[in-house]
């Protein structure tokens, strides 16, 4: 190395004082060999930095990936900033509809299906129902939540299948149900709780189909969105899920709230 390499290196880093920097700049302008050397040193630095980024494409070790996943879960816990599941109730259903409609629009463009729009009413309708998560009476979704036993697949709209996964009681004493809605455009997972005015969607997530070519296979919500739902369930469930017997009793009684 020469003193010139050291000076050019510091020039590249902007670490020379004004007069030194002016002197080096003049040398570079006057001497092609110096300019060429500066370029070589700059390329060396650039390649060195780029070489470090090679690791971006390498899979993480399982232990590191698990550690980062735990941090993600910590960040996403209810009541902490960055979590998308804890929307104010009146915004939850709007968000759910927006998500589902966006997917439905994509699916409609791709396949011509409008199943989701049919089964998901707009936020405001002529009936005056607010866009606050209330599920319309006599809709396929309401019938599903009222009548379907967990584990049974039900068609709730054109090209939209649904399955209640389980029922539980919330910490506030309301009966709640977790259901998956599946169409070609993807799968939405919702948690709806029974209120005096009807079923209200408390939280929803969506996942697109993981890949093409398996559209005959029923898909559950993806891991990331399921994680968000699970975080919600952690805070909302008063106890374990209802047994089939408890659930059948609630269905026959039309889902009264606990006393």
């Amino acid at each position: 190395m020469t003193d010139m390499d050291e000076k050019l290196s510091a020039y590249l880093d902007g670490m020379l004082d004004e007069s030194e920097s002016s002197g080096v700049a003049a040398l570079i302008a006057d001497n092609p060999a110096v300019a060429e050397r500066l370029e070589a040193l700059a390329l060396a630095t650039s390649d060195f930095v780029q070489s470090a980024s090679v690791i971006d494409a390498a899979p993480m070790s399982p232990a590191l990936a698990a550690q980062l996943a735990r941090l993600h879960v910590e960040v996403a816990r209810p009541g902490r900033a960055g979590n998308v599941t804890q929307l104010p109730q009146r915004k939850q259903f709007v968000s759910f509809l927006e998500t589902h409609r966006a997917v439905a629009a994509a699916a409609a463009i791709a396949t011509g299906l409008i199943a989701v729009q049919i089964s998901m009413p707009p936020p405001k309708r002529a009936t005056g129902l607010p866009a606050d998560g209330l599920i319309l009476a006599d809709s396929g979704l309401e019938r599903l939540l009222n009548e379907a036993a967990s584990g049974s697949m039900t068609a709730v709209g054109k090209a939209l299948d649904a399955e209640v996964r389980f029922s539980f009681e919330s910490v506030g004493g309301a009966p709640c149900r977790l259901a998956d809605l599946s169409s070609e455009g993807g799968t939405s997972r919702i948690v709806a709780c029974r209120e005096t005015t009807g079923w209200r969607v408390m939280v929803a997530s969506f996942s697109a189909p993981p890949s093409l070519g398996n559209d005959s296979q029923y898909q559950t919500a993806g891991a990331t969105s399921s994680e968000a739902i699970e975080i919600y369930l952690d805070s909302a469930m008063a106890g374990p899920a209802m047994t089939a017997l408890e659930e059948a009793k609630r269905i026959s009684e039309k889902w009264p709230a606990s006393q």
Binding site: M1, T2, D5, E6, K7, L8, S9, A10, L12, D13, M15, E36, R37, E39, A40, L41, L43, A44, T45, D47, F48, V49, Q50, S51, A52, S53, V54, I55, D56, A57, A58, M60, S61, A63, L64, Q67, L68, L71, H72, E74, V75, R77, R80, A81, G82
Partner: protein
């Protein structure tokens, strides 16, 4: 110990890709870099951090210290089992294979061959974004030494790769 703040978790997640590059730049091995990052995060979560310090720079520092500890341990291990080390050195590493797709094999070879003290200072400044003053404090050497090592590091790489050829 009080539970770490959620904002710390978020900041760690933001810094993690940068620290992973930094770690890889130091040790030049994906598995070792991941171990270093994991240990760095564990250290950040388990110990208090000065209030006025930038988390990413703090993680760089911890990462580098852990790397030095690892190097010391490796030196001891190599002295005990030189034949094993030689055999492992003959095998192509996955990170070397991946690296060849992005930068030329000649560049990778030149970086691998760069003496540690030069790779370390170039990592601190070019990858970690440290100023000469910070790098000097980190390495406990005068700023002039940082300038000299950086010039030398770049010159060795440039000559080995042959950019001017």
């Amino acid at each position: 110990m009080a539970a770490p703040e959620p904002s710390l978790h978020r900041d760690i997640l933001d810094a993690a890709p940068h620290v992973r590059r930094f770690a890889y730049s130091l040790c030049r091995n994906v598995a070792d870099a991941d171990d270093l990052l994991q240990s760095t995060i564990e250290r950040v979560l388990s110990r208090s951090m000065p209030d006025d310090v930038d988390l990413k720079r703090w993680m760089f520092r911890i990462c580098r210290n852990l790397w030095i500890d690892t190097k010391r341990a490796e030196t001891t291990h190599q002295a005990a089992a030189p034949d094993l080390q030689l055999a492992a050195g003959d095998l192509p590493r996955t990170d070397q294979i991946a690296g060849a797709r992005i930068t030329s094999a000649r560049v990778e070879k030149a970086i691998d061959a760069l003496p540690e003290q030069y790779r370390e200072v170039l990592t601190l400044v070019a990858v970690g974004g440290a100023s000469y003053k910070d790098a000097a404090a980190e390495l406990s050497v005068p700023i002039g030494t940082i300038m000299s090592r950086l010039g030398r590091a770049r010159a060795i790489l440039a000559d080995a790769v042959g950019y001017a050829d």
